[in-house]
Symmetry: C2
DNA sequence: CTCGTTGCAAAATGTTTGCAATGTA
DNA sequence: TACATTGCAAACATTTTGCAACGAG
């Protein structure tokens, strides 16, 4: 499987766009950890990382996100705060999210077999061609329940 | 089962709030049809409806939505446009959404049995206490596939 | 060298809020 | 009558965009 750098590079090439230092920094910041992110958290993450030598403005982040979406490297994610939230998806298997409404933790769960069965069954019943799906469960995580 | 009017009225009473004409209009607009809505579509729907005699400002809609959410009459919904989107949920069984990315149609599917089984299984495995869940499938609907 | 890209600041868009007038219970 | 609510307009927050300087290939 290609790594995300190659995927982005090829996407840019095909579309006559350039693989600039800023785009490299944003791409790496996105894939460096596994957190869901919004423009602000990404901006702060980049600023606080000494190993990124160049400055990246918010405007550039705003302009890069549509490219990453289009290249299928990231996707819009269910949000906890009021800000638009993303997660990287390339190379990451489909999973359900368990979002704790008390501590805001997000647990990922790959219950592949049954999950896919349900999704496929629903799609088939409606003659629907799946390109993506999301399962999100909200409630209280194990820790928060026991703290009460 | 209580009707949505009583539910809202009781919620307001308990919280020392008043059941004003504007709140009645907004509530009825929300439950009058089954579309997902954002502030703007709701505003337009109210303006264009002759049977609503009073004017309702956007500010009032913005102030009423948190009340409807808190009363569990509506909930945040997966969005197609870039605007925050809601759907009424009171009295409406849990369902999956099939969102067509071509025509933007949203199909609702109540495949209760298996859907609930998966959700419960995932929650149980993580000792998670469910308060709500969402299943959203994106892709191409039957009609849009056959048009190609 | 040619165009695409960047950062900046201004503009556009969406949402919240202070306030004086009004309405509900 | 007391106090919550409304519409307005101003404030605020987020995102987009025009532009001149810059940079990748």
């Amino acid at each position: 499987m290609k790594d995300y750098n190659s995927v982005f590079e090829e996407y840019l090439q095909v579309n006559n766009l350039k693989f600039t230092e800023q785009r490299k920094i944003i791409l790496n910041a996105v894939f460096n950890n596994h957190n869901h992110f919004c423009v602000d958290t990404l901006f702060e993450q980049i600023q606080s990382n000494d190993s990124f030598q160049e400055y990246v403005s918010r405007a550039t982040i705003y302009r890069t996100i549509p490219l990453l979406l289009e290249a299928n490297l990231i996707k819009v994610s269910e949000k906890l705060s009021d800000k638009e939230t993303y997660e990287h998806c390339y190379g990451h298997p489909k999973h359900a999210h368990l979002m704790c409404t008390i501590c805001n933790r997000i647990i990922e769960e790959d219950e592949d077999r049954l999950m896919n069965k349900v999704i496929n069954q629903i799609a088939k019943k409606n003659k629907f061609k799946i390109t993506d799906f999301n399962i999100c469960i909200k409630g209280e995580c194990c820790d928060c329940q026991s703290k009460k």
